[in-house]
Symmetry: D2
Subunit: 350 residues, 4 copies
């Protein structure tokens, strides 16, 4: 009889860009054409935003990036002070990164599973599939439940997702982080705020629903997505020069771009995002935000035109080259982290 262990035997191992120096390769790509040339320009812009002493760097993550082996890239970026804030879909932060922080792993799924022909069997075995990667659903339920425990211990009032995710970092700090490379934990230590503006849309959503259900009509924690937006806008006002490094599109892209307009609504004139890079395979022709060009964003007054670059590639290929480039160029060595969590907690935010 088939059991879980027949499927879950080979863990995904996270790529370590500190071990490979792609600088000569990327520079050579810059003298060619098509995506290779775009990638080289994006690498240069990434390096520039890290090297610019005034620039606050905002990393936007959409898509299943952590389960796909990119966790250490982003954890290292936080550790090296290359990133000052993160805006992400909930899955990367909770279901995948925090999940690994609790000691669980993602598993390599055989190629044939992509066919979809085995999904009924996987369901029976409590195995969830992300394309070619597998998750033990029972472990994921433990993760859901931990998010409920965290919610139970927090003050029963509206929280930004940032506040809640900071409590997740504190949980890992207190209970021991079971993975050497956790984005949530490194961000906690470095006071890097993490925002998940659509936070109920992940493992934490299940925990929060359970929390609210248990509390009934009594005082309970709620998740205020307007507060998320307010907080990120405060950061933009406090640090007007900003750069966006976006993997995928969706809510994180939209949310981070919008703070320029939000500052204006609050009567504060701030410059557009000075640097912007997006890695995506989304097509421009369906008019949706995920694939919309950064030029289009400039018509909205959100992104400046001088240093913007789209890279048309699936993330697992492009991100190691882009971050590997910025890492080995080394501008981060002269950089100090902005510790924006401290800014938000001392500021008179509502």
């Amino acid at each position: 009889m088939v059991t879980k262990s027949d499927y879950l035997h080979t863990p995904v191992e996270h790529i370590d860009v500190t071990q490979f120096n792609p600088v000569p390769l990327v520079e050579a790509m810059g003298r060619t054409a098509f995506t290779a040339r775009d990638l080289a320009r994006a690498a240069d812009i990434t390096h520039r935003m890290v090297a610019d002493r005034d620039c606050g760097v905002i990393l936007c993550l959409a898509g299943s990036l952590v389960s796909a082996g990119l966790k250490k890239v982003f954890a290292d970026a936080v550790r090296c002070n290359m990133v000052d804030a993160i805006v992400s879909t909930g899955a990367n932060i909770v279901d995948q990164d925090f999940f690994e922080g609790l000691g669980f792993r993602h598993w390599v799924g055989e190629e044939k599973l992509r066919s979809g022909m085995f999904d009924a069997e996987l369901r029976d075995l409590h195995i969830d599939r992300i394309y070619d990667t597998l998750i033990d659903e029972d472990e994921l339920r433990t993760c859901d439940d931990t998010t409920r425990v965290i919610a139970d211990e927090l003050e029963p009032r509206p929280h930004s997702s940032r506040e809640y995710i900071r409590a997740m970092g504190a949980y890992l700090d207190k209970n021991g982080c079971k993975t050497p490379d956790s984005i949530v934990y490194e961000a906690y230590r470095a006071d890097v705020p993490i925002f998940c503006p659509a936070f109920s849309d992940c493992s934490a959503g299940f925990g929060l629903v359970a929390h609210q259900h248990a509390r009934g009509d009594g005082p309970k924690l709620s998740l205020d997505s307007a507060k998320d937006f307010y907080e990120l806008t405060q950061l933009k006002i406090a640090n007007p020069t900003t750069g966006l490094f976006m993997v995928g599109g969706g809510v994180p892209k939209n949310f981070a771009q919008d703070v320029v307009v939000a500052a204006d609504v609050l009567g504060r004139e701030v410059p557009m995002h000075k640097y912007a890079v997006q890695v995506t395979v989304a097509d421009v022709r369906d008019g949706a935000l995920s694939g919309s060009t950064l030029k289009e964003a400039s018509s909205w007054g959100k992104v400046d035109l001088a240093f913007e670059q789209m890279v048309y590639s699936e993330a697992t290929l492009a991100v190691p080259l882009l971050f590997g480039y910025a890492y080995h160029k080394g501008a981060w060595k002269a950089r100090t982290g902005r510790r924006w969590n401290q800014v938000l907690e001392t500021a008179a935010v509502p």
Copy 2:
């Protein structure tokens, strides 16, 4: 000198599927191959979910669909009791539909604007661009401001986006809806709940930031995305047979699929979504949710396998054929709206 009116002269006109009967065309497509055959099968599944007397139909909207001329399709679907709940990105509901409800329009942009070469000029003229469609940014600011007015008048406590959007419908009802076909207004009248789980990520986000800023430390409205999730889960529990019609992927797709698991977390066993259709151009190969197959969702226990179909097409082409098919098949005539807003408001939701 170039002025706004040089660009904003031809309004987008919303397509009216009640005027074209695509049933014979779609049926013929079902005997061919590739996307045409898929579309015909998806049309049949759409018809089935409308015809199934037990089924609650959830419409999920991502991408710039309303600005692209699909507003009347969805407003008609609500009017004809073909849809019982809507989960959407904020832009469709607030920036685009409510915006038109206030009397504003979207404009046809010349083909050359897509090049991105005119975006600096558009910015100077306060014109925002969505691929080949234009918006008067000053009018959009009026829309932002109206959302603030609505927030100011609501009780200063955590709201679900549904509660807030219902107040937007009431606003249109009271002040007069300036467009013959508004999704927000028709949903208000039909008690169809609309959820925007990433609600700060749109025009209303600006209004809410302004509201919270003005209130300072005093009592204020907040937007509880966990409550959104809780409410939709309640609906799934109350009405276990469900169908999803999804345009695009992103947060709406994820959110609506997840309620099956959320019900389980609350100790209520509910069946997977019985019907599921998705129209998208997203590619499966980047592993992201937007393009992930509905079979993959079945490994998570979210979507049943018997009646699921992906349609690989840009929405403006496929949606009129799919809804036109379901409209002209006429199963909606025997259908009664579920008036789910009433369910939520009388239920003991927290």
Copy 3:
């Protein structure tokens, strides 16, 4: 035991655009956005090229279009004098259209076959798969063999693919065309030349290899692709106003666009193609020809800019709407076929 008939039971039926009038739908799409608006503009350009009394219309076909149920669309276009020449990949013309002319059919493959999990079984059963469509390989071998018979009967000298395909039409005329709608047969009757510039790349290639092998060192038929190019160039010189309707990209697109330059090489100045429409899902960002814009082609002096339109859609969805539009607009009724085969056979072509 599984047999062929377990798979081959439901034939693909070709869509009949004369039965559905999409003119109102397409016109309404023209007032919306994104692909729908593009499609409406492309439909208008298609109508214009048919209505322009000076214009020779060249239909370019790449992709498995005939097996997918679009055969009758193109056969009707020839019958209605809407098309004056065809440039195609070999598969559409020989393996699929001529194949059906011999009395064989294509078959609907179950959805699960797309997974690739059954391909070994299909191979054992002598069934070939094109995505979701099936072919009886033994019948295809009969088709291969028929192409050899035709080669055997032709004069042993270099032929253009057009000459050879004309002989295929004559074969159907003599032996009876077993399908009511054959592109090859209708083109034969209407003196519409068909070019397959990469002709060995299909069923006929197998027949020709067998022919050449059997002839050994003796006189034999060869296929002169330079003659193809020379002939199409002669047509452009004889009829300078031209329009291209392209489904897919590849060799047919390149070949047909290039005749403008070829005429120039022969010292004859001819205008660029006046009208050009392309239906494709190819992405522009890989720099390959199939997805390259028609604007790019204008830098090469091949396509004029006034009436060109790309339509980003899988062909089975867009082609029925585009040809249905042009058919029901009815400009073809006033049109006389150019009978270009006669031009080529009386001209002093080498």
Copy 4:
């Protein structure tokens, strides 16, 4: 006034995979997910086909690869005996590689040119554009003309494209190859046959049209695409174990896969292609050959299932990693070139 030199100032420089060792990076990618894992598997298969002493390696090239800076990758592959035959679109071989062999260059085009807004100006300046790369059209005419000179000097009979391209190599040998890295020249020296089955579809097409026009009714060179197919089939028969490395799809992919069937037509049973890798961004869902899976090819009896891998990436990103991997793994050092041109010229080919 704008002149050619305002646009043509920065040449494309070809990437040199001998200078970067991606083996550790690629191996790490093999433990992640999505495209990175696929790429690592494809790199391993590439290495295996080079290491397999029985295997003849066939390189298939579609898309503008040489102009994009990949010329040296393929020239080095020939020089290192990693490749035994090449099947390509004509543009790569004639317009781009032979063109550079004549001493001309490709030029980096500014990013804004991609918009298509400058194509009329480029046309006036005799500059041709390939997405973000530029060509001096007057130089291209020199290239066209050189192909005519070569045709004039060849025996006036049907030639395979291979024979003709071999004469192009001899021309470079005699007149001096003006670039250090020419695929045509290295293949000539290593007796590696190059086939362009749709040969008139490129610069040589113009030369051949001019040649045939000048010869009028007299004896003239023709290009026999059936002979191409016959020759490649002979090679498959002579060397049954084969591997395909395919960049893009189109005619080269189809042509090379088909030889398995062609051998069968000649009464010779040969195995399917044992190894197959394809790098492409084509989508599977339009049913066209370029994006069709290698599994689908196995239903046709063309490609074996054990060692096949699609890589979903634009070529400039994936090809340097794949060939860099195979180069630095070094299996080519123990490999002897098959010198298949000699096989064909001594064999009793018709």
